[in-house]
C-alpha cells in the first residue's frame, strides 16, 4: 500500500474501523524513509523501533475500543528543534550533537495524548536560522520535486517528509516563514497559527517573540486536525472541516512591496489562482501596508538580537561547532545597538496596526507565500525581474511581516511553474481567526484542486 497522496482525514476512519493498522502505515513511512532519505536528507534521527512499538500499542487500543481520535495511530514527524524524550534535539547543529531530551515538549506530549506515532526528527536549517535547509550540521536537505533545489526552510526536512510520505504530517516552527516557505517550495500546506496559540515549551528558540509552532500537512483538513491536536483539542474533532463559502468572501490582495520581487512564473500562477477565487464569487480588493518598506529592517534587528542573546555562551565556547554561515549571522546580532533594537520594537507595533487596518472590511489578505520557485542549492542570489536578489531576503519577504505582527497565516498549493516547481498562495486572517482562516484555505484548496 502506497501512502502517496493519502491524507490523515482519509485514512483515520479506516484506521478507526480496523481496515488498516497503524503498524502498516508506520511500516510504509519507515520504508519510504529508508528508500528516499539517503538522497533527500529529510531526517536527522529515525526512531523506527519506538515508532513500531507505539503503532502496535495504538492498534491494540483501537481494537479494544479505545479510539482516541483522528491522529490515533498516524505516523508523524517532528522538526529536530522540538524535544522528544530520549532522543537528541540537535537543532541541526553540532553544538547540540550530544543532547538528549529528558522530557517531551508540550506539543510532543499532546501528539502522544492524541495517539500519534512519532517516526523521527527532521532536518532543518541550523537553529532554524535560514530559509534553505542547506546550512545543517547533518548536510543539506533536497527538494523532492527537484533534488538540485532547496526544499525551503527552515523546516525543510518536515516539508520533504510530508510531501514524500515519510510521515503523514509534521510539526515545524516559523520565525520568519519557516513553515510556510518550505510548504510552498514543496507543494504542501503549511500553517503558522497566531502567536502563542500553540505552546513553544520544549522548543529550541530562535526568537521567542517571533517563534510560532505549527503543522505542515498534505491538506488543509490535515493541517486543521494537527492544529487542534497541538492545542490539545484533538478529542473535540468529530466532523470534517467545513469550507468557507467563496461566494461573498472578501479578500485583500497585498500589492506594492509584496508584488515587487515576485518571479514572473510565480506571479502568473498566483494571478490565475486569484482569478479563480474571483470567478468563484470572492470579492478581491487591493491593499498596501504603510510601513512595508521597513519590514525587513525591523525583522532583522529583532531576530538578530534575540538569536545572539540565546547563543552568546556557545558562540564564545564552541564557535567552530556552528556552520560558517549561521555562525556569522549570529555574530552579526552581537553588534546591534540597543537603541536600534528599541526602534525595531516600535516599528513592529506600527506594522501590527498596519496589518489590522489592511484587514478591516475583509476576511483575509492574499499574497504569495514565496515569491520565487525553490532556489538551486548553493545559490547566494537568484535572478528576479532583471536583478539579482539575495536568496534569504527574497524568500522571507512575504512571510516575515506576520511573524512580527502575530497574525495567523497559511500557505496553500495553488499550482506550479512551467518547470513544475510548486507555488504557494498565502492567506492571512485577523488575530484569533485561525479557524476561519483554515475554512477559507479549505475552500481555496478545493478550487485549486478542481483546476488541476
Amino acid at each position: 500500500m502506497s501512502l502517496d497522496g493519502q491524507t490523515i482525514a482519509a485514512l483515520a476512519p479506516r484506521v478507526a474501523r480496523g481496515e488498516i493498522t497503524s503498524e502498516r502505515l508506520t511500516e510504509e513511512c519507515l520504508a519510504t524513509i529508508e528508500r528516499l532519505n539517503p538522497s533527500l536528507n529529510a531526517f536527522i534521527t529515525v526512531a523506527a523501533d519506538d515508532a513500531l512499538a507505539a503503532a502496535r500499542d495504538a492498534d491494540r487500543e483501537i481494537a479494544g475500543g479505545r479510539y482516541r481520535g483522528l491522529l490515533h495511530g498516524m505516523p508523524l514527524s517532528l522538526k529536530d528543534l522540538i524535544d522528544q524524550t530520549g532522543l537528541p534535539t540537535t537543532a541541526a547543529s553540532r553544538v547540540r550533537a550530544s543532547h538528549r531530551a529528558t522530557s517531551d515538549a508540550r506539543v510532543t506530549s499532546r501528539l502522544r495524548d492524541a495517539g500519534a506515532v512519532l517516526v523521527g526528527k527532521t532536518n532543518l536549517h541550523e537553529f532554524a536560522f535560514g530559509t534553505t535547509t542547506e546550512d545543517s550540521g547533518w548536510g543539506p536537505a533536497r527538494n523532492p520535486v527537484d533534488p538540485t533545489r532547496s526544499p525551503g526552510g527552515s523546516s525543510g526536512g518536515s516539508a520533504i517528509a510530508v510531501r514524500t510520505g515519510m510521515s503523514l504530517a509534521s510539526v515545524g516552527t516559523d520565525t520568519g516563514g519557516s513553515i510556510r516557505i518550505p510548504a510552498a517550495a514543496c507543494g504542501i500546506v503549511g500553517l503558522k497559527p497566531g502567536w502563542s496559540e500553540i505552546s513553544a515549551h520544549g522548543v529550541v528558540p530562535l526568537s521567542r517573540q517571533l517563534d510560532h509552532v505549527g503543522p505542515l500537512a498534505r491538506s488543509v483538513s490535515d493541517a486543521w486536525i494537527m492544529y487542534e491536536a497541538l492545542r490539545g483539542e484533538a478529542r473535540e474533532i468529530s466532523a470534517a472541516l467545513e469550507a468557507h463559502p467563496l461566494q461573498g468572501l472578501k479578500l485583500a490582495r497585498l500589492g506594492g512591496y509584496f508584488a515587487e520581487r515576485v518571479d514572473p512564473d510565480v506571479e502568473r500562477v498566483l494571478d490565475g489562482a486569484v482569478e479563480r477565487l474571483r470567478s468563484a464569487g470572492a470579492q478581491i480588493v487591493d491593499r498596501q501596508l504603510a510601513h512595508a518598506g521597513e519590514i525587513a529592517a525591523i525583522y532583522l534587528h529583532i531576530v538578530l538580537s534575540d538569536a545572539a542573546a540565546y547563543h552568546a555562551s556557545t558562540l564564545d565556547r564552541r564557535p567552530e561547532d556552528y556552520t560558517a554561515n549561521v555562525r556569522l549571522r549570529l555574530e552579526m546580532g552581537r553588534y546591534v545597538l540597543a537603541e536600534d533594537y528599541v526602534r525595531a520594537l516600535t516599528g513592529r507595533a506600527l506594522l501590527r496596526r498596519d496589518v489590522n487596518r489592511a484587514l478591516e472590511g475583509v476576511d483575509a489578505l492574499v499574497l504569495p507565500a514565496l515569491g520565487i520557485p525553490a532556489p538551486p542549492i548553493g545559490a547566494a542570489t537568484v535572478p528576479v525581474r532583471g536583478g539579482d536578489e539575495p536568496v534569504r531576503n527574497v524568500m522571507l519577504r512575504c512571510t516575515q511581516p506576520f511573524n512580527l505582527t502575530g497574525h495567523p497565516a497559511i500557505s496553500v498549493p495553488c499550482g506550479a511553474t512551467p518547470a513544475g516547481l510548486p507555488v504557494g498562495l498565502q492567506l492571512v486572517s485577523a488575530a484569533g481567526g485561525t479557524h476561519d482562516l483554515l475554512r477559507m484555505a479549505r475552500a481555496a484548496e478545493a478550487l485549486f484542486d478542481l483546476a488541476g
Binding site: 510601513h291 532583522l300 555574530e331 536600534d340 507595533a349 489590522n356 502575530g406 497574525h407
Partner: protein, 58 residues
C-alpha cells in the same frame, strides 16, 4: 553614534576577533539600520504604538 561610526567600529572589532568574513555582512546590517532609523515613527510622539494599546494590538 551615526551608522557610519557604528559600522567602522563594528568592522574593526570583528577583524580584531578574527571574524574578517563578518565585515561585508555588517554592511548589509548597516543598510538596514539606515532604513530603520529613517522610519517615520522614531520621532513621532502621537503614534499609539504600545502593545497593550487597543489601536495597535493584533
Amino acid at each position: 553614534v551615526t551608522v557610519d561610526e557604528w559600522l567602522a567600529w563594528a568592522q574593526a572589532d570583528a577583524a580584531r576577533r578574527g571574524l574578517t568574513a563578518l565585515g561585508p555582512i555588517l554592511e548589509g546590517l548597516a543598510k538596514a539600520t539606515v532604513t530603520l532609523r529613517a522610519g517615520d515613527w522614531n520621532e513621532a510622539a502621537d503614534e499609539p504604538v504600545r502593545d497593550d494599546d487597543p489601536e495597535t494590538s493584533a
